[in-house]
Symmetry: C2
Subunit: 123 residues, 2 copies
């Protein structure tokens, strides 16, 4: 497996028991980051330049950093490419059901909800 | 039921079908706001000055506003008091399972997680 010989700072990843709920919820509270998560849910890993999101490279780099430092994704470098993968197993171990529940909520968010039966007091 | 005669702007609350996932996740991504949510999960409603959180009144007021405008809580005024209630039914209708899953994750966040069996690649 070819590796870059250029030295770079190691990418920071929290250990599974260090993954913090507030960091994860913050990471998931952004549409671009959620798009990245949804894409990664469907494949083992993906090169960073290949995500179909319409944001500036520096912005995208920030989003990946937030996702990585919160423990939502893993990133590894190979040559001059960086690959991202969802930490599905780690997240499920740390916060069972959270990722799937949020992704199910995302589907409802995008498709809208059925109107309430009555416009009652919001209880 | 006594009501204040002083006119104030109506409190803004999104309708259930307008509740946005990103707003909800952002609202829940803060420890003080999550404390408010956890307290409200256990009782029908509570007067705003009675929450055991150690933040400045203006900060607390901001947190309540974020929770209300995201659709997480309902607020009503009675006389010169404001009461807050969790929109449990609305949230469950809009995003089934989300609130309970996040609160279960919160319990794990505070008590720590079991260490991973192996310090392996974060897959």
């Amino acid at each position: 497996m070819p590796r870059s010989t250029r030295r770079r700072p190691a990418l920071a990843h929290p250990a599974v028991e260090e993954i913090d709920l507030y960091d994860v919820l913050h990471a998931l509270s952004d549409p671009t980051r959620m798009t990245i998560v949804r894409i990664l849910r469907a494949e083992p890993e993906r090169a960073c330049g290949t995500f179909p999101v319409d944001v500036a490279p520096s912005t995208l780099s920030h989003h990946f950093k937030v996702l990585r430092e919160s423990g939502v994704i893993n990133q590894r470098e190979e040559g001059n490419r960086r690959f991202s993968a969802l930490r599905t197993v780690d997240l499920e171990r740390r916060f069972p059901g959270l990722l799937d529940t949020v992704l199910a909520a995302l589907a409802r968010n995008e498709h809208g909800a059925e109107p309430a039966a009555e416009p009652a007091w919001h209880g």
